[in-house]
Symmetry: C2
Subunit: 348 residues, 2 copies
DNA sequence: GTCATATCTGTAAGCGCTTACATTTTCTTT
DNA sequence: AAAGAAAATGTAAGCGCTTACAGATATGAC
């Protein structure tokens, strides 16, 4: 009759298992990590002890001894909304296939916090990192370089020659959408953007709008810009300011879907019909863009692809291979109902 | 002139810092953990070395030696949507104040996965866990008990006498909403629920509907139930099935807001006006419930409170104190526009 | 100056695990 | 049946850190 699981208060260790199975710690370790090196009989015995004790290897100790962790990290700007969720999901899933766990941290769009989080994740054993965008404190960048931590920037295209990027051209994508907006006759354009400081995606999108305007012979200086932080409410109040001006825009373009949702919400509250009286556009094509009313015309972004490819790049990097970076990924305008031709004067 | 940072390929260790500052490793460790034990002069010297080297303590090693990690964990069913985001945010923030980091894992609504994740988080040093709901594999429960890991169940009320819970009464909350529905004259009720197996919240909500029906003298057997998995699309197709039946319901109640968003979306596609032709209700009051059209009448749930209180309970538990559990938290019906009186016959 | 006391710093023993290397056992081969 | 090869197991040295304890240095009272 086997001895009952030891009831002392600490969690069982490798040694406890070893004792119970009357083998050395090395053998137990092998059972867990390289079962084929152990004879069938011993393995049974050991596994039984593992089960009896409810043993789970201590991650820290294992990492310390083995000098690898099987962990990648991701630092995203926010978990508040679903923007990064889908991509991250794909990233995690792809890595999960390879037995790699993902640690996620968020930076609140703050470069200092991002730097902190990068250090924390590395200290916790992240062997490679997924990051969002190009903007980063020099210290963070230096840290990654000197510690030789492989990392990949997503949601963006390369700015520094040696960085690996898996993303798309925010500027071109937004310009493409703006071209459509202009083609529908809009000239008085309002633009709600997220904070552009230390957010290269927001900046790029903004420049994209101006690019398209200039190309269409519209003076970019006529663009009314509202810069707000990232929330539905902020999008809403920015929309208020835009529409309450003396000469309100006929279309409000938003730097992302969350802001656009806020704009749409306010439009509904004011009984402004969209797109008849005012058009609204978004960017990112997250879940809510189909749900809002009217469904949001936005820029579709390759969330999943980015996650999957980022995982592959990082894995290659960790294996010392040179990853194949395929250039910018595709985006396209997801036509739904919030963008229409400019209203004739007097409609309002 | 100080020596340049060593350029070898490995990350700097405590010992490297010690050497560079010409002190013992113990002193460096003290500088990082108990600065007041070290003289001002030495501290300066050490901190400079830390900065020069870009030293970050290895988390695993530290945890191993100090036998505590300053880490709590949370296992939530999904990160796909925003359901748990707000509460988690509050949880993390509350713990962050106390210098505790949070590790998050998701179980995909699968008890086996949850068990895995619990083990993983504990192995990674989680000293306490936030969990969702009461349903759990016996093994997971046993593990938590024998390893003496403090944990708190959220989004639910106690089922087992010794469990700590921070949540609300799903059953009563849903019954309360259903009472309103019935008061508006609805008798033909459709109900879209998430999978009820191993999801006590979903079950409780379902029972809540039946409770209210029974109390109102309506036979619960007349409730048409569609059980689907957790997504907008699934909500949508469940709504299709409900409405395409020979005698469609006048109100479709949904077990959560995501499902309701799907129902609403489909209603729009069919040009069914809500709530004139059919009413829809949700549960959870997440961000999207205000954004959908029409804005969703749903049950408001104390997301933030749960997060904050769960953090406090866990901290108390870790300090060996007995946490004060204040009983179920409040919920209420968030009246918006998707629920109205039953349509007179012939309206459809 | 001396000695007791308070502060600061160093020494060294682990924390729980992996793994190179040594040793024992088992299996072939002749 | 003996010898050699192959397979299984054990031994023990760390991985990078904390911390009890001891030793050194500074401070103050006399």
């Amino acid at each position: 009759m086997p001895t009952p699981p030891s009831q002392d208060n600490s969690v069982p260790t490798l040694e406890d298992v070893a004792k119970r199975a009357s083998v050395s710690t090395a053998t137990v370790s092998r059972c867990m990590n390289a079962p084929k090196m152990v004879s069938e009989k011993t393995r049974q015995k050991v596994m039984q002890a593992v089960r009896d004790l409810g043993y789970t290897p201590n991650f820290g100790a294992r990492a310390l001894a083995a000098r690898r962790t099987g962990t990648f990290g991701a630092v995203i700007p926010t978990m508040d909304n679903a923007i990064f969720a889908r991509g991250l999901q794909a990233f995690q899933h792809e890595l999960g296939q390879a037995g790699i766990t993902t640690l996620v941290a968020s930076s609140s769009y703050n470069p200092e916090t991002e730097e902190d989080q990068i250090r924390t994740l590395v200290a916790r054993g992240a062997e490679a990192l997924l990051l969002i965008g190009n903007d980063r404190t020099p210290a963070a960048h230096a840290f990654l370089r000197t510690q030789k931590i492989p990392f990949v920037n997503t949601w963006t295209i390369a700015e520094r020659p040696d960085d690996f990027c898996v993303g798309f051209d925010n500027r071109r994508a937004m310009a493409m959408l703006c071209r459509e907006v202009l083609a529908l006759g809009h000239r008085r354009i309002g633009y709600i953007t997220a904070q552009r400081t230390s957010n290269d995606r927001a900046r790029a999108r903004f420049f994209g709008v101006r690019d398209a305007m200039r190309a269409a012979g519209v003076d970019p200086a006529t663009l009314r810009v509202e810069e707000v932080s990232y929330s539905i409410d902020e999008g809403r109040s920015a929309f208020v300011r835009l529409m309450d001006s003396s000469d309100p825009p006929t279309v409000v373009m938003c730097g992302n879907d969350v802001l656009a949702a806020g704009a749409l919400l306010e439009a509904r509250h004011r009984d402004l019909s969209v797109p008849e009286q005012v058009s609204v556009t978004g960017f990112d094509d997250i879940d809510i863009s189909e749900i809002v009313f009217p469904a949001l015309t936005t820029v579709h972004v390759p969330h999943k692809d980015m996650g999957v490819q980022a995982a592959r790049v990082l894995r290659a990097l960790c294996d010392g291979e040179t990853p194949k970076i395929g250039g910018p990924l595709d985006t396209w305008v997801a036509w739904r109902h919030s963008l229409g031709p400019v209203a004739r004067d007097g409609d309002r």
